[in-house]
């Protein structure tokens, strides 16, 4: 079976149009964080965010043939998800809202998006850039993925010694390994960041 996780968006869409379930699976998994986080950043509840997620994925399925030649799926997804979030938000404001539980308040830590109106160019661009970096790291080897995730996404900065311990490599290897992984990441991100 082909590994669709390594394919570019355009290839994934073509495979979806050919009936490949695994390609659709890979496409949704690639953009799951982007699609789910936008409604949460728009202050929708997790339940409403789940509904937005489903609606956007349905629209994505319906538009596959059109998106095949689209340059930036992420841009289309950001715009579509933002619009769907407004729609749900506007509808919710007309309905009495249940009290939000403490669990739902956890999403308050996400940087907020404005309620209504298109995203500012810089917000849109940052969401695209975040998605591009995340997506490119996912396509690297497991070793590079683990290393760069540790370096870029962990809140606590790790020393070379700690990195070496967790990656099970000699300390002097950390620098060269990081450099190789960054070179691969830069090639994968060419033109996107």
């Amino acid at each position: 079976m082909s590994d669709f996780t390594q394919r570019e968006d355009r290839d994934l869409i073509a495979a979806c149009l050919s009936g490949e379930q695994a390609a659709w699976d890979a496409l949704i998994r690639r953009y799951q964080r982007l699609i789910y986080s936008i409604p949460l950043k728009s202050r929708l509840s997790p339940d409403d965010a789940a509904d937005v997620f489903q609606s956007v994925c349905l629209k994505l399925y319906e538009k596959l043939a059109t998106l095949r030649e689209h340059d930036k799926i992420s841009s289309w997804l950001i715009t579509t998800t933002t619009r769907e979030s407004w729609r749900v938000s506007a509808h919710s404001r007309r309905e009495p809202q249940p009290a939000i539980s403490d669990d739902e308040n956890e999403t308050d830590s996400l940087a907020q998006l404005p309620a209504g109106g298109p995203l500012a160019d810089e917000q849109h661009e940052m969401l695209e850039r975040q998605q591009a970096v995340r997506g490119a790291i996912e396509m690297l080897s497991e070793r590079c993925r683990d290393l760069l995730t540790m370096l870029f996404y962990e809140r606590e900065e790790s020393s070379y010694a700690e990195i070496a311990r967790r990656m099970v490599m000699p300390v002097p290897s950390v620098g060269p390994t990081r450099a190789r992984c960054l070179e691969k990441l830069r090639r994968a991100l060419e033109g996107k960041v």
Binding site: Q21, W24, R33, Y36, A50
Partner: protein
């Protein structure tokens, strides 16, 4: 100073570089080296994107529901796929040559397996009286482990235009029709998305 190399440059940008190397790299960048400047800008963009990325993954059920969109859309109603489906015979235990002179109680029962689309119908015809048999069966749907699509289905034994007997599948898609007179029948299964017919089902003592 020549370009410091990617390792040293990244160490500098990450504040991991000790003096005097740190000062040397700083002076080199200040000369306006285009290549190192581009690398610095790229790395800082990537670091900023990653450090401000507070996205969260949806709960597993949300993801699964979205992934199922594709399968549901690709799987049209059975009737649209193959019309009033006629099941195909896949296996007949009586089609295997029996050992000469051997007819044990195990081989007296006839096992038949039919398939229509992604449904399979597993049948066993067991003699009960001289001129009658018991039809035991199970309907399964490929890829389904909870029998949701195959429980509570109505089925009929039909001869010509006459329904001779009927049954309803249990929670595991199983059924039993007793006292079926020897003969050739159609077995019709009524699904939520169409019908399946097992044609020319031989219920006899052979």
């Amino acid at each position: 100073m020549r370009c410091p190399g990617l390792e040293k440059l990244i160490d500098y940008l990450d504040n991991r570089l000790a003096e005097p190397d740190r000062a040397a790299v700083g002076r080199h960048l200040a000369t306006g080296c285009a290549a190192c400047g581009e690398t610095r800008d790229w790395y800082e963009n990537v670091r900023l994107a990653a450090s401000t990325d507070d996205s969260v993954a949806p709960p597993p059920w949300v993801l699964k529901r979205a992934i199922r969109i594709f399968d549901a859309a690709q799987r049209p109603r059975l009737a649209e796929r193959i019309g009033q489906a006629i099941a195909s015979l896949i296996f007949d235990s009586f089609a295997r040559p029996a050992l000469a002179g051997v007819r044990s109680s195990e081989t007296a029962n006839r096992q038949l397996l039919y398939r229509a689309g992604d449904y399979s119908i597993d049948l066993q015809i067991a003699p009960s009286e001289e001129t009658r048999a018991v039809l035991i069966g199970q309907i399964l749907r490929e890829g389904e482990s909870n029998f949701e699509s195959v429980s509570g289905l109505k089925l009929e034994i039909v001869q010509g235009k006459t329904a001779v007997s009927s049954a309803v599948t249990d929670e595991m898609g199983e059924f039993k029709i007793s006292g079926v007179k020897h003969g050739v029948y159609d077995l019709r299964v009524e699904l939520s998305e169409g019908n399946i017919t097992v044609p020319d089902l031989p219920i006899d003592q052979s």
